[in-house]
Amino acid sequence: MTAHPLAGHFSVDDAARRIRHYRYAEERTMRILGGWIALTPELPAKLLFGRHVWDCAQHADLWGRRLPELRSPAQQSEPPNEAFVDFMALVETAEEPGRTIERVVGIYRVLKRHLLAEYERHLAHANPVYEPPTRRILQRCIEEERRHVAAGAVVLDRLVTDDAARARAQAWERRLVERLAAARGLGGDVETPALADVAPDSVRFQGDLVALDSTFEPVGLSEDLAQAVDAHARALIDAERSRWAADVAPEAREAVAGEYAALGKLATSEIVAVARIGAHRVVRVRLDGPERSWLVQQQWRRADGQWRLFTATIVRSDPRP
């Protein structure tokens, strides 16, 4: 390419093709994030996805509207190749419970960092005389993707709480980067797809972070109820039926015993939730054994001056990591 101000890197057809690729990535990301919101328990991640669905939709829309100006049908998405479709499909596979780390890594550590790098590469080569319509969209997308990447990094940092989680995140990232390399990136034209880095202090992303430090508050848990719930859990851990059965209202003993029959060997317990219904309390207790964890929801009511258990339901059972 010469230094002439009208020298260009992309033909009209090349630019349209790249834009169809961008639209493919943005649209698919929008749909994946939208689908994941309901499947993601952690509030900061759930709300991060909720914030970014609309940004991705607008990016896809802007690209889709630009296309007819480049002799291409409006709102058309096109992946660069089948390998890139495979890459996106792999990102989307993180849908099972407990895979929020993989979701955030897939979108924010790999896909968006690559998209940002591709946008920056395009902007560096787009001619400033005859490609300003594309450049303006690129500039907006770059600004917003930088914000997304920075906010995603903060949320991921909160999710990765130990070495095992860190190893999981790194392994998933490596696997996705390999798959992205097999596609030769979003442009389908590079040996090693670039991943842009974003310095956190270079972007204002605080508006994208909600409920980051929000945790369980045992406000509705009075001291006597806490003691009753703990004593009950200790009896379960010790497998002493007469002790835990004494906490249960007589009319509920059979049903509660039936539910507890599904519990295995237990070692520790922790109260993780307390909700109020008038004077009653609904408590969630996590019971951990050597091999499995159980989340039990219990309904406690005051009767004859003491807390009595009226219902107990196992709401979840998971293998220990």
Partner: protein, 251 residues
Amino acid sequence: MERPIAYDKLAREDRFVRMRARETSELRMAQGLPPMADLASRESIRERMHGIFVGELQAMEGAGRTVYDFPDAPWEFTMDMARQVWDESRHVEIYMDLLEHMGGHIGEFPESTILWRCACAEDAAARVAGVNRGLEGLACDVFNQLIHIARKIGDPIIEQAVDYVLADEITHVRMGSRWLNELTKGDPHRRRQAIEFQDTIDERFNLGGVRQDGAHDEVSISIAREARKLAGFTDEEIERLVKSTQRSPVY
């Protein structure tokens, strides 16, 4: 990813206690309380706010699923639903802050997933009729009343924040009306089914006589006639809703 997902896949942090709405109402009534929190005290306003907070969460999740579940729907429909996801995410934040403003916290009261279940209709037209017209219409009623109560108790924070949320909800109802018409154009059977779905949701959210046509401080949930008109409900639709509240069984 599955399309659509099963109701019970709705994911929550462990600090959320989930219960069926009917069970919670029965436990409240057994203690001499109204079936759902009214707006008679700061305590009950806080409880109502917690219910709205989880409702907004489910509305965000439902709109997100609509973006994912209907890839062949018109692009402008997807754009409207994506916009709604963003709006609902802000509403979640607003109600989290209002909950804190009222001295409450996340998980303080049980969550029912009745709203989410309504957002799982398999047809896009039924989903917008049920969610955007049925549930967002209910939101117009609830928020309009909350604004009135906030004004009455002299709380400008609640009044102004909820007024902005109400403006969004009115927009969402309009989106629902537009897409109910466009998605069912030339298909009267599909349209009828979508409207019937909305009717069942309206009926369910009359909450056994809790929603009524009446003054803000006299009924638990008052029908917001003006907000509903602004959202595009016809006089005939509003009257039909009023009639349906009169035949709903009381708890």
